[in-house]
């Protein structure tokens, strides 16, 4: 792999990613007043985050058992309305402990 090739690839990746992120911000400067579009956008975060988390979370650690335990811990903590950091760290600690036990 030549350095020139790496830099060119990096430039292509960064440019593609930036254009995807930039276009909506540049185009939709005015508030969209259509009620259907507003409703649609309201649900986007929940739909996209749910789809990204499941089932991917179950293969995010060293073993499926530890991932299931971590996921359950995260759901319980989130249900109790704990903050982002608490839920994230709680899940990671649970996974670590389960992996230490040997699962």
């Amino acid at each position: 792999m030549s350095t020139k090739y790496i830099i060119a690839s990096m430039f292509v990746m960064a440019l593609t990613t930036y254009v995807i992120r930039m276009l909506p911000m540049a185009i939709f400067r005015k508030k969209i007043n259509d009620k259907r579009v507003q409703s649609f956008l309201y649900y986007v975060p929940y739909a996209v985050l749910s789809a990204m988390t499941f089932p991917a979370i179950f293969s995010s650690t060293g073993s499926e058992v530890s991932a299931v335990v971590g996921c359950v811990v995260a759901i319980v903590l989130a249900y109790m309305k704990r903050g982002l950091l608490t839920v994230a760290v709680g899940a990671a600690v649970a996974v670590f402990l389960v992996q230490m036990i040997g699962f």
Partner: protein
């Protein structure tokens, strides 16, 4: 620049920063093991700020992929940012200048998007600058540390950190799903669709990036059709 807004953004970015550190350390390790010089791995993280896209990009580089291939793969994996950015465009202050809008666009990641959507008010440029800065520092620094200390991080620790970002997503979707039936419906439908897309024979063929955006459009569309929201609710 409003200082209090900026500092609040910095504060809200700390959990993301910590989660990013471990993921980007894994990226640094992968990149260096794949034969990339450490400084290019760090530069990739700083210019891209996208996890799955970067991993795929490095894989393609190792395989000697063409620029078209690299651009197309990046597009497919990252196309979801288009919808996220569209949501953010509706939530930033309407008087925000074009320059600031173009600056904020750089930092729209899954997690920064998720946290900004949780804000009960309009987003200012100062707040977004803080919310983007902390995670980008974590992302870049993590890549450096991971790449520099390729062998040092214990396997069990780094693999446990892999769940941290998903834990954050769960912390964002569960509390509103608990209170609002329409959100609960959206979450369950999206999970069901996502599981179907990753396991059913024909649907499985669709690559991850397209599946996510297809599910998002379908599920949000169905939810908006079944549970339209009125003006006051949407003001939030």
């Amino acid at each position: 620049m409003k200082k209090s807004e900026f500092l609040q953004g910095i504060r809200h970015g700390i959990p993301i920063c910590l989660g990013y550190f471990s993921v980007s350390a894994a990226f640094g390790i992968t990149a260096v093991r794949s034969g990339l010089p450490l400084w290019t791995a760090v530069l990739i993280s700083l210019t891209n700020v996208t996890s799955a896209g970067q991993f795929a990009g490095v894989n393609l580089m190792v395989a000697g992929g063409s620029m078209i291939e690299i651009a197309m793969t990046t597009l497919i994996i990252n196309i979801r940012y288009f919808l996220m950015s569209l949501s953010v465009s509706q939530k930033v202050e309407s008087k925000m200048s074009m320059k600031k809008r173009l600056g904020i666009a750089y930092g729209i990641t899954d997690e920064i998007f998720a946290v900004s959507m949780q804000q009960p008010r309009k987003l200012t440029a100062s707040y977004m600058a803080g919310l983007i800065l902390t995670p980008v520092v974590g992302w870049t620094l993590g890549t450096f540390v991971g790449g520099a200390a390729t062998q040092l991080m214990p396997q069990k620790l780094s693999s446990a950190m892999g769940i941290a970002l998903y834990g954050m997503f769960i912390a964002i979707i569960i509390p509103p799903a608990r209170e609002q039936k329409n959100v609960l419906f959206t979450v369950i439908l999206a999970i069901a669709a996502s599981v179907a897309f990753s396991s059913l024979p024909v649907l499985k063929l669709l690559s991850g990036g397209w599946a996510i955006i297809l599910i998002t459009i379908l599920v949000s569309g169905i939810a908006a059709w079944l549970f339209p929201r009125n003006e006051e609710e949407n003001a939030g």
